[in-house]
Amino acid sequence: MHRYDLIIVGAGIIGAAVARECARSGLRVAIVEAGTPGGGITAAGMGHVVVMDDSPAQLALTAFSRGLWREESFPVSVEYASPGTIWIAADEEEMAEVFTKKETYARAGVHSQVLSAPALAALEPNLRAGLAGGLLVPEDGVMYPPAAAAYFLRQAKEWGAEMIAGRAARAGEGSVSLDGGLRLTARFVLLATGMDCALLPAMPLRMRKGHLVITDRYPGFVSHQLVELGYLKSAHKVAGDSVAFNVQPRQTGQLLIGSSRQYGSDTVAINQEILTRMLQRAEHYMPGLGAVSALRIWTGFRAATEDKLPLLGPAEGLSDDPTLWLAVGFEGLGYTHAPGAARLLADRLLGRASAMELEPFLPARLKGSAAGKALHA
């Protein structure tokens, strides 16, 4: 008999959320982490819990997941708050999109509110004049991801999950072998390894680098997460580099400024040209940002799939191993998706009914995908 029902490799926000969900559903769970829990991509991103409508499946999973975020009662360390998102329309053409977006959201049961130009200016006086308006999505959240991951992990342990420090050298066939030689067995092995494809090189993931800048404290300078509508175009683009205006108010009063997307760079080094474009974009929307003091600049990698949906469920199609499962490929939405993805995976593992379909996210859909072949050739 196996020692565990499920071994999760990776204690980022995804592994931590899945561990908690499965442990509290009664599964015997082990979670293996090579570094600092929450110290991978989870330590690099913005912490925006946001409904996005790039595709129906994305809209369904983000809306479902955001609902789960809102049910949590987090400790203060998680800094969970609902300032809401404002999607900013720069001109009349984008304003037309605002109305379409509102309808799309409404169909998915997501409340939003159209802002006229004066209403937008009243809510965010530091935005430049002359913007057309925006869409306020009041229930979107902001949180501090490493603390959220730590919190999920703490709860997982309280439900009996075991945390094992070490690097998994091999995973599959119902077992995980650690670098030191330790071998663990389980009915299932779930890879929640973020951007690390070493355990299954066939994972069709591409790294999309992003830059972020954190500032000193300016309480009240920004009150909502502000994102230009063009962000969708930027995030949607499969090829090429892009930047978009995306500013987040932290609970500390600091501002977190993004965002950029870039393929083909695998170093953490700052790309001057992208950083410049990103900051020029930010200053273009919010001229006062120029005088704001920047403390640190860093980069992070989003693990992107071809269709920008995560890989959730059995690795079928990418591996012949029936014990191997995946929870990777979250691109820029891994925080948002974490509780929803965890719930759907636990449902499937336990044979429970789910609140929504897992099918659009099954890894098998990307069997033999161009991205997978090109990248891991």
């Binding site: 570094g35 600092t36 829990p37 929450g38 110290g39 330590a43 360390s77 490493p146 603390a147 730590a150 800048v213 500032t215 000193d216 500390t252 400024i257 700052i270 001057q272 040209e273 950083l275 410049t276 900051l279 020029q280 930010a282 200053e283 940002l289 120029g290 005088a291 704001v292 003091s293 920047a294 403390l295 640190r296 600049i297 860093w298």
Partner: protein, 438 residues
Amino acid sequence: MSAANDITHADVLVVGAGPAGLAAATAAARHGCDVHVLDDNLAPGGQIWRASSVAANTQSTQPMSSREKAIAALHASGATLHCATRVFAAPANNVVDVLEQDEHGLRYTYRTLIVATGARELMLPFPGWTLPGVLGAGGLQALVRAGYSVAGKRVAVVGTGPLLIAVAAHLQEAGARVVLLAEQAGLRTMLPLAASMLLRFTKLRQGLHYAARLRGTPVRMGWWPVEAIADRGVLAGVRITNGSETRTIDCDLVATGFHLVPNSELAELLGCALAATPVGRRVLVDTYQRTTRADVFCVGEPTGIAGLDAALLQGEIAGLTAAGQPSTHLHARAAAERAFGKMLDRTFRLRKALRTLAAEDTILCRCEDASFAQVKACAGWTEAKLQTRCGMGPCQGRICGPATRVVFGWEPASVRPPLVPVPLHALISSTSHHEENL
């Protein structure tokens, strides 16, 4: 952007106008190099030769100080000095980005870079160290030079290192009553250093000068602070111990410091190899002061704390080498000064008791108010940073990083640009050169 044309090329670019940087720049410029010196202070001189706005008027009648001589030599050499300029990033090979007057972004390109960024004080957390009235020893000295009056104030100087004696002597000169000089190193540990100083004329002379100033000051070797005490929010005194007994000394100010930490961040950002020290990292150099990065030299305290004479010699060696001149005649003296630095390290090695001074609620990271208890619960620097925000504030772990290294033995923080907080538009203007000019 407005600053897009502000690119200066320097044959030799020196960062830091302390003794090491001044010596380097002067030597290189004398031999025909086009030299530019950048320093973030308003006047050259670094820490030890920090300009005194108070004494400025009286000094004209006195013979030239070594500071004035060094600055005069720099100007005579033809090197160009840029004060109030701070290097904050190294975006590409042979390029640095600079913030001028805390406002404008500028860019410098160089053939050779000489890093002379000096050192900072090591601050260790003990109960009360964040009270108003408890200051870094060097910080208080700088304040006094900038005009802050300590006349008639009772000051306790506590910690370790040669800087304490210098600061105590300076405070006494400025009219303070130094009621205590507590050096954690024991008398016995100090003897080899004292013996070696007897053999070195300049150091002996400086030592005697300080000794004369400090006559009558209560000096305690082998004593260290355990708590700064407040009475209704106002600093009232400092409690010290020698491990077996404890005393309370009444005072108005506490000046504290535990020797120095190399400012190795710029060199690290440039990709130079570093070696770990008990309090941080130092830059690895060869006998010509060359780092492991082609085109980058490092001189003075970032290569290891060794004092003024080492800084001057190392600076000159690097300046000569950058100008293609021989410097071997200086190597033996430089080696002797390095050996002196090693002796300083041994003499002022921190005793174990200093690692456990903090109480549960003692603040460890001042920028982010992270307490000792919070930080202690973490497995290492990364976790502490992610879960307690320790080291995430404006100083980016410059102060609490070395403290956690001493207290917990953690690896120092990684360095990311900007090296100092800079306004966003400086990042934009400096980076926008890239598209246009690089």
